[in-house]
């Protein structure tokens, strides 16, 4: 009974999220909240994909925007070159390009760990950024890639802002569900094993290099999904989407929210975008606030908001 109850609660929250533009239409005529929430969900998807690496497999990638950007460009360019707005084509291109890119780079970097892994992922991401920035004929170079087509599914046109929101929310929920299943699976458990003690994992018969590579590719492909959602949302791809700033933002989201938890990156994405988008118009030093918040979490609460909440709960129930 309790199981049924919690499933019903999850379904109700999911339905409320997807239908957000409709039940808020009366009081939210400017669609500002819808736009901000949409972007929060895009970045939450992106942060969730990074969390698979940072939080579960213990692979601190500082170049995850490469796959986000690759997905965004792939969705935009596929729509333009193939003259289609079909979701399965443009989203498929995003997943494929981001996944293959992650496979190529991952094959070169997953054997390293710690600070070396961090620097290598950053270096390769900077190469991807340089390509996006300079390959003007394809990507639009420094001007970015404008006019990304919003998708359709068959005859169903998703180009209206409210429908884009519904698409983003639905994909976000699917990715969350996928990662929830993975986190509880044998595969997720093995990734945690690699994070906690790779030497022991090898001694038990796990090919940890392959495990790490599989996580890298999966996380890259999911970042590509988030990138496609970002391109549909903004109808524009900027080379900075593949740049270090975007990588750092996702990293901050994961750490503030709580690495290695499912809810953490989602909360982190919400908080960071709230500060950047909403708070920044009312207080002058929003970026500084964000920086201080980040430093505070790194120094005092490595487990992020979820870690703090768990500690508070443990104290309260003691």
């Amino acid at each position: 009974m309790r199981r049924v109850g919690s499933w019903a609660a999850v379904a109700a929250v999911a339905a409320a999220l997807v239908s957000f533009p409709y039940w808020t239409a009366a009081w939210e005529s400017s669609r500002y909240a819808t736009t901000v929430l949409r972007d929060m969900l895009v970045f939450a998807t992106f942060a969730l994909s990074l969390n698979l690496l940072v939080g579960y497999a213990g692979m601190p990638s500082l170049g995850h925007a490469a796959y986000f950007g690759a997905g965004a460009y792939a969705a935009g360019i596929a729509g333009q070159r193939l003259a289609t707005d079909q979701l399965h084509v443009t989203m498929g291109a995003a997943v494929l390009v981001a996944g293959v890119l992650a496979l190529l780079i991952g094959a070169l970097v997953v054997r390293s760990s710690g600070i070396f892994f961090l620097m290598l992922t950053l270096a390769f991401a900077q190469m991807v950024f340089a390509i996006a920035f300079q390959w003007t004929e394809v990507t639009g170079g420094s001007n970015g890639f404008p006019g990304v087509r919003r998708p359709s599914i068959g005859e169903l046109d998703l180009s209206a802002p409210d429908r884009v929101f519904m698409l983003v929310a639905t994909v976000f929920l699917l990715v969350t569900w996928l990662l929830w299943r993975i986190s509880r699976s044998t595969y997720g458990r093995a990734l945690i094993g690699v994070r906690e003690n790779e030497r022991r994992m090898r001694a038990l018969g796990y090919d940890t290099t392959r495990l790490r590579l599989s996580a890298f590719v999966l996380a890259g492909a999911l970042a590509g999904v988030a990138g496609a959602l970002a391109a549909y949302s903004a109808r524009f791809v900027s080379p900075s989407d593949a740049g270090i700033g975007t990588s750092v933002t996702a990293f901050v989201m994961v750490l503030i929210g709580g690495a290695g938890t499912l809810l953490g990156p989602i909360l982190g994405a919400g908080i960071v975008l709230y500060i950047e988008r909403v708070l920044s118009s009312s207080i002058p030093y929003a970026q500084t606030v964000l920086g201080l918040l980040f430093i505070g979490f790194v120094l005092l609460a490595r487990q992020g908001i979820i870690g703090l909440a768990r500690r508070a709960l443990a104290l309260a129930t003691r």
Binding site: T186, E196, R202, A203, L204, T208
Partner: protein, 252 residues
């Protein structure tokens, strides 16, 4: 019991490993038969740990060969050796610290089926088998305790359980009683003595009483070489062994 018996569970020949001019292993040769319990003793720096690291594939030998159950496995990666039935109890525990003891053992049991099951949780049989094994090593009632919260003795017991969980044919024990109280030492020695006799065991141990009790035969390592090889009686009576190791160990 000869050096080149075709049916050896583990056989090393002329094994060499140098670290910048220092010969940690300087041509080690021995063979361990199926089900045999072989002790490896020797003073500090004799090359015992390097030998284990080479046997598990964590360190590449600079020369010589390793055969595991008849197959030449020299230079193979650690995980492949594990798949071929080799397990190791580390001297310094290699555990999954924040995970429950049961999850530590279940990860070892699950290695056989492989990790690529992204939608299925650990099957209940794995957890049951894990709990059973924890009971065998004396950790009943501690199934839900995180590894990091165990006492030192309990952590050694868990380390042994994790090594056993992969159902190895050849088990390397690197100082199983290190840092243990006499009572804990006796318990873990009993436990090792009670293991299935088909299991081949190579045991490095500083506590010579434990080695003489558990081992069928003993190899003595000194400066990267096997200087003696024989039964407990033969080793006790060996003049050279007493000179370099046992004399001191017994007096100490």
């Amino acid at each position: 019991m000869g050096g080149s018996s075709g049916g050896a569970a583990l056989e090393v020949r002329d094994l060499r490993r140098e670290f910048g001019g220092i010969k940690a292993l300087d041509g080690v040769t021995f063979a361990v038969g199926p089900g045999e319990r072989r002790g490896v003793i020797g003073p500090n720096g004799a090359g015992k740990t390097t030998l284990f690291n080479v046997l598990t594939g964590e360190v590449r030998p600079t020369g010589g060969s390793v055969r595991l159950r008849g197959e030449d496995v020299t230079g193979r990666p650690t995980w492949q050796l594990a798949r071929r039935g080799l397990a190791r109890m580390y001297q310094r525990n290699e555990l999954f610290e924040p995970l429950e003891t049961r999850a530590n053992v279940a990860l070892a049991i699950g290695a056989r089926r492989g990790p690529y099951r992204p939608f299925t949780a650990a099957p209940a049989v794995e957890l049951e088998a894990a709990d059973l094994l924890l009971g065998q090593v004396g950790l009943a009632g501690r199934e839900r305790t995180p590894a990091r919260s165990l006492s030192h003795g309990e952590r050694r017991q868990l380390e042994l359980a994790v090594a056993l969980a992969a159902s190895p044919q050849v088990l390397l024990l690197d100082e199983p009683t290190a840092g243990m109280s006499p009572a804990e030492t006796a318990r873990i020695a009993d436990l090792i003595a009670s293991l299935d006799r088909t299991l081949t065991i190579l045991i490095v141990e500083h506590d010579v009483d434990v080695v003489f009790r558990l081992a069928d035969r003993i190899s003595v390592l000194h400066e990267g070489r096997v200087i003696a090889d024989g039964t407990a009686e033969e080793i006790r009576g060996d003049v050279r062994v007493n000179e370099v190791y046992l004399g001191k160990a017994v007096r100490a």
